[in-house]
Symmetry: C2
Subunit: 243 residues, 2 copies
Amino acid sequence: MSQRKPTKALPNMAEADIAIVRIAPESSFKNKAYDALKEAILKMDIYSTPEPVMLDERALSERLGVSRTPIREAIAMLEQDGFVKTVPRRGIMVVRRTKSEIVDMIRAWAALESMAARLITTTARKKDITALRDFFKDFGKDHLPEDHVEEYSKANIAFHQALISLSESPVLVDLTNDLLLHVRGYRQLTIGRKDRTATSLPEHLGIIEALEARDTELAEKRARDHTLGLAAYVEAHGQELFT
Amino acid sequence: MSQRKPTKALPNMAEADIAIVRIAPESSFKNKAYDALKEAILKMDIYSTPEPVMLDERALSERLGVSRTPIREAIAMLEQDGFVKTVPRRGIMVVRRTKSEIVDMIRAWAALESMAARLITTTARKKDITALRDFFKDFGKDHLPEDHVEEYSKANIAFHQALISLSESPVLVDLTNDLLLHVRGYRQLTIGRKDRTATSLPEHLGIIEALEARDTELAEKRARDHTLGLAAYVEAHGQELFT
DNA sequence: GGAAAGTTTTTGGCATACCACATGCCAGAA
DNA sequence: TTCTGGCATGTGGTATGCCAAAAACTTTCC
C-alpha cells in the first residue's frame, strides 16, 4: 500500500469547489421490496378475515414494477423475520400469531425492557431520563388517557421505544423493535383498552422515578412488572381477538 | 374474481385415517444452502485473519451444485440473521462483531434467561428442574471443571439451553439460540477460561436450587447475575480477542 | 345427476443470460 | 517517472423462461 504523499492538497482548480454531493447509493430493489412488503403486512388487518391472507409473487412483482427475483429475495427475508410462511406450490401466507404466541412475545419484551431499565440507571444522563415524562405531558385531569385512547397509545409506544433507546444497547433496541412489530397488530385492540389505560400512566411515571433515583433493582422490577401486566391482560382478555 | 363454490368439505375416505404423515417436502435448495452456509460460517474462525472473510456467489453455487438463485436467497436470509453483509459489486462479507457487540448480546441473553428462570419457578415440574444437575454430574473433586475446560464448556452450553427450554417459551428459546450462535464464536475463547470456569459451576447450582425452591425473585436474580458476570468478564478480559 | 378421469391453470423453485458498477492493469501522454 | 483515461475483468442485481406439483376446471361415462 503506497503512502499518499501529502503534496498540495488540491490542484488549484477553482472549479473543483462546485457543490458536489455524494451520490446516493440508492437501495436495491430487493430492499425496496422488503420495506414495501413489510409495511404493507404491518398495515393490513390480518385477523379480520377467517382465512389466511395470501401473497402472490407474480402479482407483487407487477404491482411493484420489478421482476420476481428481488421479490423472492424480499420474501425470503420476511420469512426469516417470521412475517410470512411460504409453502411450495401452495402460496405465501402472512403468518397469524396465536394468543399464546403474542403473550410469549410480550414476556420476552418485558425481559428486554427490564434489562434496559437496569442499564439506564447506571449510564443514562439525568436529563434524558427526565425527558421521558414529555411523552405524557399532554395528559392530565382534563385530558385523561382513557378518553383519548388512540393518542395515548401512540405516546405509549413512543415512550417504550425511547426508554429502550436510553439503554444505548443496539441489541436490546433491535430485538424489542422486532417484537413490537409482531405485537403491534394487537396493540390497537388491547393496549388501548380503557381499563388498562387507566393504570398504565402511573406505572410509567413510577418507572421514570425509579430511573431518576438510580434505583437499579426497583427500576428493573417496575419495568418488568408493567409489561408483564400487559401480558397477563392479553392472556386474560384477549380471547375474543383470536376468533 | 370468480366465486368459489363451497362444495362438500371432505370426501368420506375411511382410509384417510391411517397414519399418513405429510410426505417430506424435502427442503428446497434455498433452505439447504441456508443450512450449509450457516454451518460453514459458524464453523470458520473469522477472527483469526486480519481482513474480513468474503463469500462468492458463483463459487458457492458451484461448490453446492446449484444455481446462484437459491444461493442468493440463502444469503438474503443470512443477512437478516446478521451473519453476513453484502455490499453491491464488492462482495459478501462474513460479519465480524466487536467486543462491545458481543457484550451487548450477552446482556440481552442475561435478560432472556432471567425471564426464563422466572417462568420456570411457576410452571416447570420438579423432576425437570432437578434433571438440570445431570449436566454437571461428571464433575467433582477429582474431575474439576477447570481441568477439563473443553468438556465443561459443552456441558455449560447444554445446561443453558436446557434451562431456557424449561420455560416452555418458544420466543425465549429462539431468541436465545440466535444470540448464542453469534456469541459462540467467542465462547471457546472466553467461557472456557480457567479463572471463570471455577466460579461457574457453583453459580449454576445456585440457580438450580433457587428454581427448586420456587423462589421466583432469587432464581431470576441468580440467572441474571450469572450471565451478566460473563458479560463483565468478556468486557474486562476480552480485549486481546479482538485484535 | 354425479363422480371419476383428463386437462388447463396457477404457483413457487430453479437455471440462465445480461446488466451496471467497482477495481486493477496498462498504454500513452505529460 | 508520474499521471490519466480506457479497457478487461470480477461481483452482485435483475429479468426471463421453463419446470413440476397442486389446484381448478372440463369432459366423459355410468
